[in-house]
Symmetry: D2
Subunit: 390 residues, 4 copies
């Protein structure tokens, strides 16, 4: 499976084309809209989230509720576009319009793509950069991920996430009865946290950051249950599933780290406390006593839950000014503010879920490929049986 | 650029083919052999490192010291192959030979690819898995990386690494005068550590782990200086350089996490202490006051040093036994030992350097592509000027 | 550069996303609309061409007349969609609606994708196949090609085409004064033919085929002038430019053959009459006395005009019935007619031009890549100088 | 599946790495050596074919007669290498050696990659080009193809070829009882021709060409029987199987055209005589009355035999001189002769078979993927049943 996205933050729409889905898979716009809505929630978001109530329009590849096998086209309109038709329009500007309407940006914001992107593409107006580098693009990545999530769900693979840290406040609750139970709690938590104590402190930290014109980041954890064992591969470095997950997480705007299972803790523990012992029963087949390696060994799934964490840095747009330089005048200035989220970690958890869903679904579709979804479903089930009886 | 590798741990040889190098780049086998030798050093390695003194044979793509533009073929022979011709040979075995020579493995080692790989490919003899999943394969990944490193060096981009933690012992020295200076220290440290105090403690920790039949992991940091700004891209998720680096690090055997710049620390700091202020002088152009983001913003280089860290779990092969299950008898057993490194973190630092080199070189070659290395070199230099004068 | 397309023939829209264009390249919707209009012309087309007046909407990647470097999103609406919302809608049908509105297709047409596609994807309703396998999809391939064509034009590379045969009538005019002159003639010919005699006979052949409820195919020739020499490569089989052109032409609906230069004639001529002698003058550099190899030697451009021909089979939808089998009843029937073009060769010439443009532009962008179009332009010019002075 | 190749014509060896084969597929070096031997036969070959008796060495991915799932490494040594170690060695030359041993080539041969390749990569010594652009590289393409062929054979898919034209002499025998019968005849024909009359004339034509210091080309036809229907796809242009076959054929050295089924004849026939009527019987399922479309409709297999033809131009190295220009002196000269095959069409038929085998096997492996060859085999069989019962 592969997908491309297009669209600027204040352009007419965001678009994605997903190629490589099998035919006959059930898919409705509500499957996607649910994820888009989840992405827009979360304590600490600013005005933009109110302007846009994202809904998807399916423009290809689905008929009467099922995939056709042809590429799926998805469109999410930018409701604000009507106010930006001149500024972001495709038509050349008349010379006199340039100053009036262009809203040229010459002041790069530290921590954003502005300056590097301008130097790369030769843009003297950094609006040409920020319109695309904006996290607005994650909307269609979530849309594509929602399709993947649906595919996984049909195969009995479930994905959820929770926030484990915000602004230095760590969640102390790591256990949950079931993924359903985890979802219930996190969907009702403004910061998607399992720990009610930490939840309050996180919200306070967000409020405080906002008050001080600052912003805070955090850590999100994605969990996937139900993956059959042996997905991914050790035979070539670019087929390792853990490498693909790392890439997916790191490609989310503002993410600076990723770990699987115990992750960085592995540096301070002896091997005997890191590896997961292998057990076997007739009903269950092979399984692990523990899951410190987060469901991945040798670039492949073990059959245990996949556990991936990523760290998001604080949103770089601050009221609290950081120094920068105007690229026209070369004069220093203190960085301008384009918007005002003080914390986007809860939303990022939803994005992380969906990019992980994409990688897992891609790996599944590659490994148990069939043009017909029903057959693919059977093949995954057969793999489960094969593993159990191995 | 792209490369494939083949070869099993006890097969005749490891092979790699590198496609996409420009023509006219100087390259000698010594460039590669140096890196291969560095990979074989390090306190805590076992017997295998003595058996194999890896040297490369160039079998394509180089003539009289320069790349031809055609694919570069590299071979590293396994010196031990002569003892394994029957066990690992390509010829079918006679029925009576099966038991004698096959050295069949039916006992999966926890933390290895053995069991998942066997289930995936349907191997009842897990030697079929472990021969390829072995870290021996990193030899040719280092060979490919050494070619990339040479390319970068010619462009004035230097890469080095140091070990920042082993078995819970952290290095407290983070500063260094220059990359040359860092290299000098680490090349003379048995654990590739900048901090002489920590070095001793790390070596003690390794000794102790060995004594207890245990193993320990650690954290390595790779630094690349000299990358022009604007390499990578924000325009599409799969073109982000940070995502590619994350994938590269996570694809190294036994790595469970990766971070860029301050990484996971970003979860506990306010935005004002995370982002790097932008400064400018006429001679230097734009630069950052600090480098907390590790030289990468918006999926692109900032021109500051690239800083990437990865965590390696302890080697899963222990004298201290972990429980597992024989796949034939389904009887539990305590996991066997195939080899005896108690810590491979120093070697892993060299591997990490080289896989990072590959990603950086690939990004450079893609972005400043020319069929002729001399032109590519000029284009990179022009980019530096362009950025400085922007 | 890469692009994906989505959209069904009677769905809401056709969409394409083009990724990898440099920034700062001029692009207007008229550049694309011109090509879309050219594709809709041609003697022998049926009703559909009157219904749809295709125009493109740019939904990403362009601002104020220039590419941004971000992916370009293009949409072409299907004007007929309003009549097909139920039949082709994404919503599941109510059970009672199924028979009424579904317009289920169970009778595969010989020569179409219907039957193979149904078997592949498991569609019992072959509308699920024909909606995507329809040549309607070439609309967005032309849109993508138009972008490529614009890029080439900016670099001084021009592409045109003419029809050399229709239904057994061959054009006897092979010469033309200039590509501009060729364009003038073919744009005014209803069958895009250089030979006025043949033109009349071709039109008669089309009329006759129509009268007899039959259809005819033909041969189109695409010419590209201005390509610098050395584009493509011999170093790896999948980098050869001739192979890419062959793939592009053969991927057009109904094409069954492709040749470069003298093509199949090369089977009956001695080497001394096939190869092009190499000449040199100070002003011009190297050139060939003849151009029998169609501008390509060793998988690379020679600097001479690129000449590629493709053969299109007659459109398989005929009034004249061919036998087939209903997949539900297994009863034989004589194939139904969905539409009535009796010859689509002139339009196919436009499609061929545009897919060739895509391949040439991709090869150029890969080989002289720069993020900034102005630099890319300079690099192509430098290559021309380098070749001249070589 | 993917593969890379490396190696120069007079370098130490040719190498290929094949990645993506399922595990458990039987494979022996004899499977490959047979194809290598077939490639070296054929009336009209020169001295080189006597020097090299190509045999493969398997250096990875196979154990005890079966694929491991890991990449397959294949090596074919150049027996002549011992005479070329200085001229083609990797070590830099001492200044005084340059003139002596370098065998510098400054005279580009018309019809070869020499000049374009030199301009592309900036090589003043065109030996740097011709060593790689040589058809010697097809040796490892055949090796990779032989692996694919073996895979197909295990699935009941057989591939063969015959020569239909050489130097203007066309074979008039198009029918054959079975593919086995065709193979028997062609393996015993020095020009791989089914028509004994034409065979003689072709050999005469080769002799005559040789006498005159000229060379001749021809047309080869590849036939594949047993492909299940629905392989390939219409849903995206780059997934069409006919496009992939066209690319594969055109990428063979010296090929200038490709056609499928009746190919270019389709330009002169009415639709009613081009398309294949669809029939059905309970035992056989759907099939076509004729096979004018060569087993491919809508980019997919129909289940009928695949028929692909390609045209090879005469080998460009002639005793009969063509004019060219020395790149150092800019003096005209008449092109030198490096070797003396006067016709390589019979060998090219073998190459064509093997590159077609690669594409078909890749398409099969992608579409019916399983990590375990036994399962893949079952899936292909299930597809045959599904198609028959559809």
């Amino acid at each position: 499976m592969r997908y491309l996205t297009s669209g600027e933050s204040h352009g007419p729409q965001l678009t994605t084309i997903i190629e490589g889905l099998p035919a006959g898979m059930p898919l409705h716009d509500t499957d996607i809209n649910n994820e888009l809505a989840r992405r827009q929630k979360g304590y600490g978001r600013g005005r933009r989230m109110q302007i846009e109530k994202d809904t998807v329009e399916i423009v290809g590849g689905i008929r009467h509720g099922y995939t056709l096998g042809s590429p799926v086209g998805l469109v999410v309109e930018n409701n604000d576009w009507k106010h930006w038709t001149k500024i972001m329009g495709q038509e050349p500007l008349a010379p006199n319009e340039e100053d009036e309407v262009k809203r040229k940006v010459t002041r790069p914001r530290p921590g954003h793509a502005d300056l590097n992107g301008a130097i790369k593409y030769g843009h003297r107006d950094m609006r040409n950069v920020l319109e695309r580098s904006s996290a607005r693009e994650t909307t269609v990545r979530v849309a594509a991920g929602a399709v993947a999530k649906k595919l996984l769900k049909e195969l009995g693979i479930n994905i959820a996430s929770h926030v484990t840290e915000i602004g230095g406040v760590a969640s102390s609750v790591k256990a949950y009865d079931s993924l359903e139970n985890l979802k219930e709690i996190t969907e009702n938590s403004p910061v998607r946290c399992l720990d009610p104590e930490a939840e309050k402190k996180m919200m306070n930290a967000i409020d405080e950051a906002k008050q001080q014109g600052d912003s805070i980041g955090g850590v999100v954890e994605v969990i996937a249950e139900g993956m059959p064992s042996g997905v991914g591969s050790y035979v070539h470095y670019d087929r390792k599933l853990d490498a693909k997950l790392a890439s997916a997480i790191m490609s989310i705007n503002a993410f600076k780290g990723v770990e699987i299972g115990i992750g960085f803790e592995a540096a301070s523990k002896p091997g005997s406390e890191v590896h997961d012992e292998i057990l076997w029963t007739e009903e269950r087949g092979y399984y692990r006593r523990t899951n410190r390696l987060g469901g991945l060994e040798g670039g492949m799934t073990t059959g245990m839950p996949i556990i991936v964490r990523g760290v998001m840095k604080p949103i770089p747009t601050l009221y609290k000014p950081l120094q920068s330089v105007d690229i026209e005048t070369k004069e220093p200035f203190t960085a301008s503010i384009e918007r005002s989220d003080s914390c986007a970690v809860p939303a990022a958890a939803v994005v992380a879920e969906n990019v992980v869903a994409w990688e897992l679904a891609s790996a599944i579709v590659e490994q148990f490929y069939s043009d017909r979804f029903e057959t693919l479903k059977e093949l995954v089930e057969q793999q489960r049986t094969f593993a159990r009886e191995f």
